[in-house]
Symmetry: C2
Subunit: 302 residues, 2 copies
């Protein structure tokens, strides 16, 4: 008997609850860590957010009809990477933000030095989490090595950090759409690609399936970022929970700036269609959640 | 025929040359990385230093009579971790240093934002290097997982970053020798312990040998830091290449502050003796270089 799938909203809510429960105990309580450092790490880790990346880790494993429990450590790892990148991005030397998601940023609460260290510690701890899928769920060392290699590349200089550096350098003048795409692909897509591949690897994906997950991630990552640009321009401040038109005010170039709002919307739709197509063609046993998540991201209003 | 060992000075010089040669090509040239980010990473990576930690990785592998070639990626990894920690420590929000080893610090050359990102990228790239010992030298995935687990703990919140946080918090008043020892053990010893264990793991060390390497590292790491405190107090500015008595001027508590200079010297000797003893007792086939390195560190005048 085939049970009907819950709606994607319910699926996301359930996963967020589960992920946040696991995050709470993700730094071993028996470890001796200076209290303010531990607090600073937990403050940002538990500060909410969409939890999109860890959900994608779990959904990718489920698309292969695997129990997603073994993928949970990698899901937590990617949220740690995402969180550290936000802490460092918010620093005075970087974007100098006082608030994120309505809460004071890490350095406003714990000071700059501790915020830098909390970011460093979360980045390092992400790799500890990856190994836990071997320790707790019997994932092989070869798979761990593959995942560590993916993460070090996609979150590192040729990946997320490179995208962040390009973004910062670009504030002195991005002049071409190609430069903007480079920033989006690395700053956003790379970690999404990692999430999908990590879930896939843990569930024993074939090379063909891994390539499809990578293409899916690249497309929805770019679509996500263009959608962000669009929402910043025409979104609802209430739903977004932040002021709109900040890109215009900060003179940041965006997709709508280069190709207009209608073409940007069309691009989001095209990328979502291509993303879904690659999953369908690669023959996953249970692709539904991934396909629903792609649509969910395209239709979001915040 | 047993060839006589070169002096330890020659051994160190040869290893430094080799390590610096390998560091030059440690970030793949085919990777697309924003030029200033790559430059900032290489600037600090190639800015000199004792290269003590990578030498210990190689020496530990050699103590097990292994060819140290397979240990080189891990040696480069630990130097990347050490380098990132210096870049972040030098930031205005941390120690606010303009010079290190006679050269401008990273943020003075590349700006604070790029220095933060260069540190993040080096930390992430260290894990990439660890996996290269599997890709290039056939080290097993299980060993890679063990090394990644060690590194994530010993360089993370319960290790080096925790030591750095405690040091920073302690500047508001370390009152007990135990607190100072906590700082030294984590800020300095932990990464030295990692270096020795990584070399040991790659060379197939037994659990008994790994435990001996860990004890050796803990002891020489603490001795190294106490020796630093002593040299800061009574060393030769010319040889040290930096002003002495900086701890006194900065009102930093040190081992000599707590127990006096003679007792501090005796402590360095005792720790060195204990370190060597643990190596001798664990039965390494070629322990000479590790033993010589312990003596070399104890007798150093800079």
């Amino acid at each position: 008997m085939i049970e009907p799938l819950n709606g994607i909203d319910t699926y996301i809510k359930e996963k967020v609850l589960l992920i946040e429960q696991e995050l709470k105990t993700s730094i071993p309580s028996q470890w001796s860590i200076p209290a303010p450092l531990r607090e600073a790490m937990m403050y940002s880790l538990m500060a909410g957010g969409k939890r999109l990346r860890p959900i994608l880790v779990l959904a990718a494993a489920e698309a292969l009809d695997a129990d997603s429990t073994a993928a949970m450590p990698a899901a937590l790892a990617v949220e740690m990477i995402h969180t550290y990148s936000l802490i460092h991005d918010d620093l005075p030397a970087m974007d100098d933000d006082d608030y994120r998601r309505g809460k004071l940023t890490n350095h406003k609460v714990f000071g700059e030095a501790m915020a830098i260290l909390a970011g460093d510690a979360l980045l390092t701890h992400a790799f500890h989490m990856i190994v836990q899928s071997a320790r707790k769920h019997g994932i092989s060392g070869e798979t761990i090595a593959d995942i560590v290699e993916d993460l070090s590349r996609l979150a590192g200089a040729p990946g997320m950090v490179g995208g962040q550096a390009a973004d910062m350098l670009g504030e002195q003048g991005v002049t071409r759409l190609e430069e903007l795409e480079y920033i989006h692909l690395h700053k956003t897509s790379d970690l999404i690609v990692f999430s999908l591949k990590a879930g896939g690897r843990i569930a024993g994906a074939s090379d063909k399936q891994l390539a499809a997950l990578e293409h899916f991630g690249t497309c929805i990552g770019l679509a996500f970022q263009i959608q962000d640009d669009i929402l910043d321009l025409i979104g609802d401040e209430q739903k977004l929970g932040k002021p709109v038109q900040s890109d215009v005010k900060q003179q940041k170039v965006t997709y709508p700036y280069f190709i207009g709002i209608e073409a940007s919307k069309a691009k989001v739709e095209e990328l979502t269609r291509k993303a879904k197509q690659s999953i369908v063609q690669a023959g996953f046993p249970k692709p539904e959640r991934l396909l629903q998540l792609a649509d969910f991201l395209m239709k979001r209003d915040h």
